[in-house]
């Protein structure tokens, strides 16, 4: 009887080493060999410093950049998750109103009917890196004004960076906000990062 207990423990430990050590080490080794950039987080660097990951949304508040979706944790990547509002909760209704008012403040003239729903709802992860093309387009007038560039150039950029559905049916057409903002900086110059963003100058190439 005691022998059975010991044998069972040993069997458990052997399988533990196989699945808990050998397996992840094997996969890590192969992944690092084959896809080092992806395996390490799809990080983007600028002047040797990491400025973020293409897959992890980051907070944008300045008028020079496209903004992402509302996030329950303000894009704190160590605190993924959403607010879990019930569909019938008053707090959801109040939050949606708040999000809409924040949006109209940044993008004056935006009516309720025109508001893309992804901009007044929080994502599940709080780190959603994407918005809909419509959500990008309603921000174009603001960015065009802030950067003094023609709107058509920005619309073109949004179209260029829009990714289609997979197989034409799965998922949604989307733009990656960080990718789009990096493209903005590349084409139209980067507003120097400063403490007071209202006074930041746009340098045009």
């Amino acid at each position: 009887m005691l022998k059975d207990w010991g044998r069972c423990l040993l069997f458990f430990l052997v399988l533990t080493v196989l699945t808990g050590l050998i397996y992840p080490l094997l996969v890590t080794g192969l992944a690092q060999l084959a896809f080092p950039h992806k395996a390490n987080g799809s990080l983007e660097t600028k002047d040797g410093k990491v400025i973020g990951s293409y897959l992890i949304g980051q907070e944008f508040t300045s008028p020079y950049y496209f903004h992402g979706r509302p996030s329950a944790s303000d894009y704190d990547a160590m605190d993924s998750g959403g607010p879990n509002y019930a569909p019938s909760s008053r707090s959801l209704a109040e939050e949606v109103e708040k999000r809409y008012h924040a949006l109209t403040k940044e993008n004056p003239g935006l009516t309720r009917q025109q508001t893309p729903l992804d901009l007044i709802t929080t994502s599940a992860s709080g780190l959603d890196p994407h918005i809909s093309p419509e959500a990008a387009l309603i921000q174009v007038p603001r960015i065009a004004r802030a950067r003094s560039v023609p709107e058509e150039a920005l619309v073109k950029l949004v179209k260029k960076y829009t990714r289609p559905r997979w197989l034409g049916i799965y998922g949604e057409p989307r733009v990656n906000v960080l990718e789009l903002n990096l493209a903005l900086d590349r084409y139209f110059g980067s507003p120097t990062a400063g403490v007071n963003r209202n006074q930041v100058q746009v340098h045009r190439p």
Partner: protein, 568 residues
């Protein structure tokens, strides 16, 4: 919109069927010890495992011995895992210097992973070291899946064998599950996921300075290896708090499709494994058909309700569109709803959206899927044996109607078999109702409810439906880390897993001893339409009768009030 739903769901179902049939046949070969493509590579490793552990792979086991070892094996997983979680601060691969997991939470967590539930009362990023993730949690993802497979395979042998005493060898079944089925698929698909952006590294989290000059700490880890087995083993416990909604776990619509497929593939393939092992593929197809039918109904309904959206938004003056609250934009409402239907039909529980924020009827589908006792594909192994328990009840009821003694696959179904099948079906149902009632009566339970109105009841009902049926998804608003819920959900998970498993092996033990009667003109054929329709009826009636009052007072009432503009 409707066309997209039909296209998305039916293409998914078609791919599933195309993959499940060959995989199921391969699995049958594995469990019957036949040579397969991977044998030359894996045979030596298999032998080494038996030698290292000092177990005899040739000994045939009676049901009591088979069950005894299975329980002992799980007991060690529970004990060793608990201690490792408690002591993770003294162990390697802890770059954030996280403290040991507190006692009640560690117990809840290890129970959750051992029972194939993966209910998570913690946030992965800030609670679990890399070591705990891979050496405790991912290991149980493999071993709990293997336990389920062993149970199903033992039951299949009980039908295939005539007048025997034994059900096979538990060491062999567990080892082959891991070595020939779970590991090879995991290695290959993990690399596919990495190629799409799922991370796989031992680097500590990276500090970034964003375009606007803010600091952001980006968590990393050996995610892909764990992601695959979390889904393939129908476990569901995410590396990160956001689970499969996290872009590092599920970066795009293609991975979302792959991940949903991973969840459902083995439970679906098992139907054909069963068919092949009992030398009756038609029976395998009938079981598959019943599961697929129930799955499709739920999937269409869930996608449709989520695509319709929440009436709250149009009432506030916004355009009426899909329900995007708590959903990732890259998946949108329909893919998220499909994933929700998959993860709850199968007892996986990985989520790529917040089920708590689904529309009331959209959220009813995951709840109802779980309340059937997780037999619509269900947990790996446990879904099949749960469905067979339902099938035995069906032939019993049919027998009562025409006054003949019931048979299934040539085995006479008698008092003992009916009782054990009832136990498999009713234990989780009882746990759901009893513990939900307790939670809404006791102040300690009500304290955890964060939604007012009928949605509060849905939160509680969902929690126990999920844990008692070993699903693990949640209406995340519930404060699952309160002591009341830590202990009651742990109890629900333990009893909901091991009582049915024990009943199934007892059932197998009694069936294997019976002789097989050749079918006579009076035998009720279990491979035809009539049987399939009756089986669906039994599942729906048992589910509906047991839970209709709860569902009426929760999601259905909420939908009615919400459509009249009532908020809480």
């Amino acid at each position: 919109m409707t066309w997209r739903i039909i296209l998305e769901v039916s293409f998914f179902a078609a791919v599933l069927t195309a993959l499940a049939v060959p995989l199921g046949l391969y699995m049958a070969k594995v469990f019957e010890g036949e040579r397969t493509l991977l044998s030359p590579l894996l045979r030596p490793i298999e032998g080494a495992i038996y030698r290292l552990a000092g177990v005899n792979p040739y000994a045939e086991m009676s049901w009591t011995r088979y069950l005894g070892f299975l329980l002992l094996f799980n007991f060690w997983g529970l004990l060793v895992g608990y201690l490792l979680l408690r002591w993770q601060n003294h162990l390697p691969l802890n770059p954030l210097h996280l403290p040991g997991v507190p006692g009640a939470l560690a117990f809840n967590t290890i129970v959750s992973f051992v029972t194939n539930t993966n209910w998570q009362a913690y946030s992965g990023e800030t609670t679990m070291s890399y070591f705990s993730q891979m050496f405790v949690l991912a290991v149980q993802n493999f071993l709990s899946a293997a336990t389920g497979l062993a149970g199903a395979v033992a039951l299949a042998r009980a039908f295939a064998r005539k007048e025997k005493k034994t059900l096979g060898n538990v060491w062999v079944d567990l080892t082959r599950s891991v070595l020939y089925i779970l590991l090879p698929i995991s290695v290959v698909v993990a690399l596919v996921l990495v190629s799409q952006g799922v991370v796989q590294t031992f680097h500590p989290p990276v500090k970034a300075v964003t375009l606007e000059g803010r600091e952001q700490t980006i968590p990393l880890g050996p995610v892909a290896s764990q992601e695959v087995i979390k889904l393939l083993g129908t476990n569901g416990g995410g590396f990160f708090n956001a689970n499969s909604a996290h872009p590092f776990e599920n970066p795009n619509p293609f991975t979302n499709f792959v991940e949903a497929m991973l969840i459902i593939i083995l439970p679906a393939a098992l139907c054909f494994t069963f068919g092949r092992m009992i030398r009756n593929m038609r029976q395998g197809w009938v079981i598959y058909g019943v599961m697929m039918f129930l799955f499709l109904v739920g999937a269409f309904a869930c996608c449709w309700f989520e695509a319709q959206g929440n009436p709250l938004f149009s009432r506030l003056g916004f355009s009426s569109g899909p329900n995007l609250e708590g959903k990732e934009w890259r998946f949108g409402a329909i893919d998220s709803a499909l994933f929700a239907a998959v993860t709850t039909a199968v007892s996986c529980g990985a989520v790529d959206s917040l089920h708590d924020s689904f529309t009331p009827l959209g959220g009813l589908v995951p709840l109802a899927n779980m309340l059937t006792g997780e037999v619509i594909f269900g947990g790996i192994g446990s879904g099949l044996y749960g469905m067979i328990a339902y099938a035995l009840l069906t032939v019993f009821l049919a027998g009562l109607m025409v006054g003949r003694s019931p048979e299934f696959l040539g085995k006479k179904i008698e008092k003992r078999e009916v009782k054990l099948s009832l136990a498999v079906v009713l234990v989780p149902a009882f746990l759901v109702l009893f513990l939900s009632a307790l939670a809404v009566i006791l102040p300690a339970g009500r304290e955890g409810i964060t939604a007012a109105g009928p949605h509060g009841l849905s939160q509680v009902l969902y929690a126990f439906a999920s844990t008692a049926n070993n699903n693990g998804s949640a209406f995340g608003g519930l404060k699952a880390d309160l002591p009341f819920y830590l202990w009651t959900t742990a109890l629900a998970m333990l009893l909901g897993r091991f009582l049915p498993l024990a009943a199934v092996l007892a059932l197998a033990g009694s069936l294997v001893e019976k002789k097989t009667i050749p079918p006579s003109p009076g035998t009720f054929p279990t491979t035809g339409w009539l049987f399939a329709v009756l089986l669906v009826g039994v599942i729906v009636i048992v589910g509906a009768l047991t839970f209709f009052p709860g569902l009426a007072l929760g999601p259905i009432l909420e939908q009615l009030l919400l459509s009249r503009g009532r908020l809480f």
